[in-house]
Symmetry: C2
Subunit: 434 residues, 2 copies
C-alpha cells in the first residue's frame, strides 16, 4: 500500500473540487481512499508515504486521438498546405518506411514523451496496431489500439479486409492483457469503403468494441461527402447504423447545428485536437456548442507530424483558450471543464470511465503529480486555473499507471531515455531528406 | 572577447537561414563576427570559448506588449467575461494595491520569468514606469517603458496631464542608461482623452519617441468608437496625426481591409498577442493579411493576468498555428516568419532594429541558446520548425543581453529565484481573495 500525500488533490469527480491536504491511498493497482492526511494516516498506518509538497495529484491525462508511431516523423514536413503535406510528403514516406519495426520503435518514443508529460492512456490509430500495443505495454501505459483500415492497398495490408483481419488478430492476441483494449478504426468516411461503413456498426457490436474515426476534419471533406452521398456525413453514418455512445469522432471541426444535434441524439463522443486543427488549417471546432448539446468531448494531440508535440498540457491550454474566442465568451470551457475533458470525458470516449479518468475509491490508480510552484509559476491563486493556464508538461514530476510508478522525479522508469534517443536518431538518419 | 560555439546559428538575417557549426564572437556588448568555427578560432584565438552542443543560438526574443508588474496578478481571476474580469476583479484590485512597491517587485518577478524563457527585451505599459525600469535594469533586461496615461484619475496620477508629466520625468531620469528607452503610451482610443490624442503625434515627435497603445482589441471597442466618432479608429488616429512607422498598435484584432490599408499606408506596427486575444475572447487577428499588406507584426504576451504566462515561445507557437487556421492556409506564418516576428520585427516595432533582433556584426549581443535535443524533442529534422513547434521555454539554457550573460544553465544570474518566490508569496498573501 502507498499513501500519496500531496498539497492538493483535483479528483475531477465531484466536479469543480480541489481538496487541500488530502491523501490518496493505493492498494496494488486501485485507489482505496481519498481523505485528509491525518485520517488516511490513522486508517493506513503501514502504507508507504510519498510526500508531494507543492504538488497537486490529478487523474492521468487521456489522449483520445494520436498516431503514436508518427513521432518518428516529428517535424518531417511543416508549413505546407494540407494536401501537399499529406500526398507529397507524409504518404510517400510512410509507404517506404512504415513496418513493424517503425511502429514498435516510434510508439516507444511516443510513450516516453507522453508518460513524462502526464498522459497515462492513449487512443492510437495506425498500421500494425499489435506492435504499438507491444511498446505501450513495455512502457507501462494504458492503450486503446485501433483496428485500422482503409480501402486502398497499403504496405500493411493488400486490401481493407486483410487490414480488418490483421487488426482483429492483434486484438485477440492482446485480449487478456490488462490496460489494453481495441476500437474499430475505419480511417474516415472517405478512406474506408462504403461497404465497410455499412457493416461497421454491426462489426463493432460483434467485437464488443467502439468505433474511432476521423470525421469532418476539413471543409473539403465535408463538401465532397455531401456531393458524393447527398447527405451530410453525420446523418449518413447514422443511417448506416454506425453511430452510438461508443462512436468517437476525431477532430469534428466542421459540425453545423444539425450535425451536432444528430451526434448528440446518438450520444457520439468527440476527440478535439486543437493544435493539429490549427496547424493543418483545418479550422475551429465549436467545442462549447458541442458541450452545450451534451456531447462528450475529449482532447487529443493527433500525431507528432501535425502538432509537433504529444503534449496534453499544451492541448488543454489551447483547448481552453481557443474555445473562448470561438464562442466569443471568456467564460467558455473554464479550467475545471478543460481538465475534465482531458481526463474523465476522454476516458468516457474510450469506454474506460469505469476504470480511470477521476480519483475515486475503486478506480485504477492512474495518477499524476504536478508541481504548482516552479520559479516561472509564481504567485499562485487557483489550483485548477494554474494547471490549465500556467503549468506545462515540464511541471509533471511523478506518474502512476494502475498503481505502478512509471515516472519518478521527471524520469521515465520504464523506457530508458538513452534508448529512445538512439532509436529516434537511427530513424532520422534513415529517413531525413538528403 | 567571447566565442559562442553552438551547433547551429539562426541569425534571422538573411531571411530563412540556418548556419551549421558557426561561431559568434562577442566583444563587450557587441557582436563582432559570425563565421565557421575554425575560421572564428583562427581570427580570435584568445576569445573565451563557450561550447554549446545541440544548441541553436538565435537573437533574444522581443516581447512587444506586456504589463510586467501584473505578474503578481497571474491567475488572480480567470474564465470570466471580459468586462466582469476587468471591472469587477482587475481594476478594483489595481486601485487598492498598485503602488511603486507593487510595480518594482512585480516587474522583477516578470523579468526573471521572461529572461529564463529567452526574452531579452520587453515593451511595458503600466503605472509607475520608472519603477518598472528600475527592476529591468536590475535584472539586466532591455526595456521600453510606456509613458502611460488615461483620462480618468488613478492612484498613480490625479489626471491625464499629471500622468504624462510623471512618465516624462521618468524618461528624463533614465535617459542616459543603456538599454532603456520610452514610448508615449496612451492606454487606448477610448481611455485616453480626445484632446490628448489630438496632440499625441506632436508630443511623440517632440520627445523623440514612438506611440504604444491598445487598438481594436475587442469588437465592442470598434463599434463604440464608430458610434461616437463616426470614423473607424484607425482612420480617426490618422486624421489626428498619430500614425507613423513608430506607432505600435497592441492586439489589432478587429482590423478590416480598410483599417489594414490605412495602417499600411502610415507604416504602422502591430503587436500580436495570440494567447491573450483568445483568453479574453477578443477574437482572431488577421496576421497573414497584415503581413501581406506590409505591416510589421511583432509578438507580445500581454500581462500575466490575461495569459497567464510571459512565455514568448508559447506565443510564437500559438501565433504560427493560429495564423494558419485564420488564413485557411497551412503555409501561412511559417516557422522562419514566426521567429522573425518574435525578434527582428518586434525590434523594428520598438525602434530598436538597428541595435537588436538579428545576429549581425555590430549589433548588440542579445542572444539566446536553445537546446534542440531534449528527450521530448527527438527526432529533429529542421531547426526552425523545431524551435517553433517542438521546443518551449524550458529548452532555453543561456541568455545574454548586450554581451552580459544573464541566464546560465537555465539559472537567472541577475535575480535570485529565492527573492522572486518570496516577493510573489508576500503579494499573494496580501491580495488573495479571502
Amino acid at each position: 500500500m502507498i499513501r500519496l500525500a500531496p498539497s492538493w488533490v483535483l479528483p475531477v469527480e465531484p466536479a469543480g473540487t480541489v481538496l487541500d491536504e488530502h491523501s490518496i491511498v493505493i492498494d496494488g493497482e486501485r485507489i482505496v481512499s481519498v481523505s485528509p492526511h491525518d485520517e488516511a494516516a490513522r486508517s493506513h498506518p503501514d502504507a508507504q508515504v510519498v510526500e508531494l509538497p507543492d504538488r497537486v495529484v490529478m487523474p492521468g491525462l487521456v489522449n483520445t486521438h494520436t498516431h503514436a508511431a508518427m513521432t518518428l516523423l516529428r517535424g518531417f514536413a511543416d508549413d505546407l498546405p494540407l494536401l501537399e503535406w499529406l500526398e507529397n510528403r507524409i504518404w510517400p514516406t510512410e509507404a517506404r518506411w512504415v513496418d513493424e519495426h517503425f511502429v514498435r520503435e516510434g510508439t516507444l518514443v511516443a510513450c516516453h514523451e507522453m508518460l513524462r508529460g502526464g498522459t497515462t492512456t492513449f487512443n492510437d490509430m495506425y498500421f500494425y496496431p499489435g506492435e504499438a500495443v507491444r511498446s505501450a505495454v513495455q512502457a507501462g501505459m494504458r492503450v486503446v489500439a485501433g483496428i485500422l483500415y482503409v480501402a486502398a492497398p497499403t504496405r500493411y495490408a493488400t486490401d481493407e479486409q486483410e487490414s480488418i483481419e490483421r487488426g482483429i488478430a492483434a486484438a485477440d492476441e492482446w485480449s487478456n492483457v490488462p490496460g489494453v483494449t481495441f476500437m474499430l478504426a475505419p480511417h474516415s468516411t472517405y478512406a474506408a469503403s462504403v461497404a465497410s461503413w455499412e457493416r461497421a456498426g454491426d462489426l463493432a457490436v460483434e467485437l464488443g468494441v467502439g468505433i474511432h474515426t476521423h470525421l469532418n476534419e476539413t471543409w473539403g471533406e465535408v463538401e465532397r461527402h455531401l456531393a458524393q452521398h447527398r447527405r451530410p456525413s453525420v446523418q449518413w453514418l447514422a443511417d448506416h447504423g454506425a453511430l452510438s455512445p461508443t462512436f468517437l469522432a476525431a477532430h469534428a471541426v466542421h459540425m453545423d447545428s444539425h450535425d451536432i444535434a444528430v451526434a448528440a441524439e446518438f450520444g457520439v463522443c468527440v476527440s478535439h485536437c486543437p493544435s493539429s486543427n490549427l496547424k493543418l488549417a483545418s479550422g475551429f471546432a465549436k467545442v462549447q456548442q458541442m458541450l452545450d448539446a451534451g456531447l462528450t468531448v475529449g482532447i487529443g494531440t493527433d500525431g507528432a507530424a501535425s502538432n509537433n508535440r504529444l503534449d496534453m498540457f499544451q492541448e488543454i491550454r489551447t483547448a481552453a483558450l481557443l474555445a473562448k474566442a470561438v464562442a466569443r465568451d471568456g467564460a467558455a470551457v473554464d479550467a475545471h471543464t478543460a481538465l475534465r475533458m482531458a481526463t474523465l470525458d476522454g476516458a468516457r470516449a474510450l469506454g474506460l470511465d469505469d476504470l480511470v479518468g477521476s480519483i475515486r475509491p475503486g478506480k485504477q490508480a492512474d495518477l499524476i503529480a504536478v508541481n504548482l510552484s516552479s520559479d516561472d509559476a509564481v504567485p499562485r491563486y487557483d489550483v485548477a486555473s494554474h494547471l490549465v493556464y500556467v503549468c506545462g508538461r515540464g511541471d509533471v514530476t511523478d506518474v502512476w499507471v494502475a498503481g505502478r510508478q512509471v515516472v519518478q522525479d521527471s524520469v521515465c522508469r520504464t523506457v530508458p531515455a538513452e534508448e529512445i534517443r538512439q532509436r529516434a536518431a537511427e530513424w532520422r538518419d534513415r529517413m531525413a531528406p538528403a
